[in-house]
Amino acid sequence: MMAAIELRGLTKVYPGGVRALDHLDLAIPDGEFFALLGPSGCGKTTLLRTIAGLETATGGAVVIGDRDVTGVQPGGRNVAMVFQDYALFPHMDVSDNIAYPLRVKKVARAARRARAAEVGARLGLEHLMDRRPGRLSGGQQQRVALARVMATQAQAFLFDEPLSNLDARLRLEARTFLKKLQRDLGVTTVFVTHDQAEALAMADRMAVMEAGHIRQIGTPAEVFRRPANTFVAAFIGSTPMNLLDGVVRDGRLEVAGCALPVPSSAEGLLADGERIVYGVRPEYNAYASEPAEGALGGKVAIMENLGASHLVTLDVNEVMVQVVVPEGREPAVGDQGYAVPRRDRALVYRDGELVTG
């Protein structure tokens, strides 16, 4: 029933010349929950719509299961899609909306209603079955859209930012709910979002896109811990990674006028005098108020409250360096402070790409 999705050299050029996808290769194994993350306009929706067949690929191939569906109409690809605005039919009640895919297949009305009731009950929609979408809350609409997709028994689900219309709280709930649902159904799912927390929390694997290219594919942990390039490094993380220009000198890194040890991941891979970018997440910096070995020292310029911790910005010789400081140890603005990067978490980028063994 389910199927892997494979994209080979997929290219989409819109009339007018916008190159929204550029020779994109991607393989999503059967049953995986795959998240597509990237800034606005990078081509996420285009990718999803091309998989669904709503856009014709300019070049390359889309393979679902073991079938090349590049030239197949959207209805023939056996995928189901949740649109960003859900696209629930305003003139049909919830039950008819859920069962619409069956109506297309000319299933009898009684059987359709039964199936809608079954799927609806699974998503807690029993008491809403004869309402119109206009009289549902955003969260309820989202569940109806999910139910409609489930009713199809498609090989793959495509979700285009299905949570972006929900408020922050509902979004958290829906996140957990959706993940559990996908686990239970085991259907290959491609999930588009521009909220990286969503992707990190839900996906089995994820891809980060930029301008029609995939910049990194991996598990959320890999992408978060070891961003493959400075684009991903800057994009991922609730607080952006510190990316500091530096030079290799005598087996150490000279960054913002301070001398730092070479991170373990780059040990033995750097040549003397090389220009690099030193990357470390604010979470992986320890804060010290006394001078320490291998630290970035400067004046506290800004304090931002993150709830259980503070984000402290140090002015290190006019380079801004951020540190997350746990509750109870906050410095005051103007204090002298030190950021001590964890050697096993710091990264080095050469020409924008991760230096790694």
């Binding site: 290219t11 020779h23 856009e55 390359g60 090349d68 030239g71």
Partner: protein, 312 residues
């Protein structure tokens, strides 16, 4: 496995493994072929019963075709004679001027303004008042013209008419003393519904938040109209003006009130054509004038479309 990048990527999609590869990119998946099939029946009907007779009219304008007599049997091509005759005919110019008054007075200044005013007054009302006012205005629009014309003849009757009774006048023969005014007011009454409906829909499409922010900024009603509403419904306004101008231009109903009289004082072009072509039997000449009307309509339409395109 992936083919290398080539400039050909910009061309049509490469052949896929299955049939129907060149599927459409429109939302409905129609594709040009099916879209053609969907439009074909309508276009066929239009071609046979609209375009063809219309072209025939254009052709007749070049002949001396008459309803009766020798030229009825064997019309001759006379080139532009009919057009030259029309341009030399003071009656034609008089009719043109009356038509301009009729269109400007009843369509642009009358129907459009009144229709907008009603839509604006009732914009955020629901309930019986709105239904009654709208219902009456629409009633005037959908009643058969034969009935409506007759009602107005009764209304404007010099001795027994309701209008004179209400105004306390006696023996003002409106249709004879003020024929143009009569047909203009009549046409406003008759046709306002279309503009009202259109503007009501247009006003609903103005986001309430825009009006509210203008109101918060202390804008008067007139300022709100000018700064918020009008820019938003500009497209509606121009389409409305285009359609009602065309319809009014070619409206034959005034004939039923005044028959073009007295003395040609309400002989708008549509009536002029009828009188020349049918009454006087000069079909060729009538067709020529129809062609001129078509050209004027074309100019009007192009002007509106220009206005619509600009500043967008």
């Amino acid at each position: 496995m992936a083919p290398p990048a080539t400039p050909a990527d910009l061309g049509p999609p490469p052949a896929g493994g299955e049939r129907g590869h060149r599927h459409s990119v429109d939302a409905a998946g129609l594709g040009r072929l099916r879209a053609g099939a969907f439009t074909a029946p309508a276009l066929a009907l239009i071609a046979v019963f609209l375009v063809f007779p219309a072209l025939w009219v254009l052709y007749l304008g070049l002949t001396d075709y008459r309803l009766t007599g020798v030229a009825a049997a064997e019309p001759r091509i006379v080139g532009l004679d009919n057009f030259l005759a029309a341009l030399a005919n003071p009656r034609f110019w008089g009719s043109t001027w009356l038509t301009v008054q009729f269109v400007a007075g009843s369509a642009v200044a009358g129907q459009a303004v009144l229709g907008f005013a009603i839509a604006w007054l009732l914009r955020d009302r629901r309930g019986p008042l709105r239904r009654i006012v709208e219902g009456l205005v629409i009633l005037a629009w959908i009643l058969p013209s034969a009935v409506v014309a007759f009602l107005w003849v009764a209304l404007l009757d010099p001795s027994d008419g309701t209008l004179n009774a209400v105004l306390g006048l006696t023996d003002v023969a409106w249709l004879i003393d003020h024929p143009m005014l009569s047909i203009i007011v009549f046409n406003v009454w008759r046709g306002t519904a279309f503009s009202m409906l259109l503007y009501a829909a247009a006003l609903e499409s103005v986001p309430p938040s825009h009006l509210e922010s203008a109101r918060l900024a202390g804008a008067s009603s007139r300022r709100q109209l000018r700064d918020v509403v009008f820019p938003h419904i500009r497209g509606h306004v121009l389409t409305n003006l285009l359609l009602i101008s065309l319809w009014t231009f070619n409206d034959f109903t005034p004939f039923m009130l005044t028959a073009g009289g007295p003395d040609g004082r309400s002989e708008v072009l549509a009536v002029h054509v009828y009188i020349e072509a049918v009454r006087n039997g000069s079909l060729g000449y009538g067709a020529a004038i129809s062609t001129i009307i078509l050209l004027i309509n074309l100019v009007v339409a192009v002007c509106y479309l220009r206005l619509l395109r600009s500043r967008r």
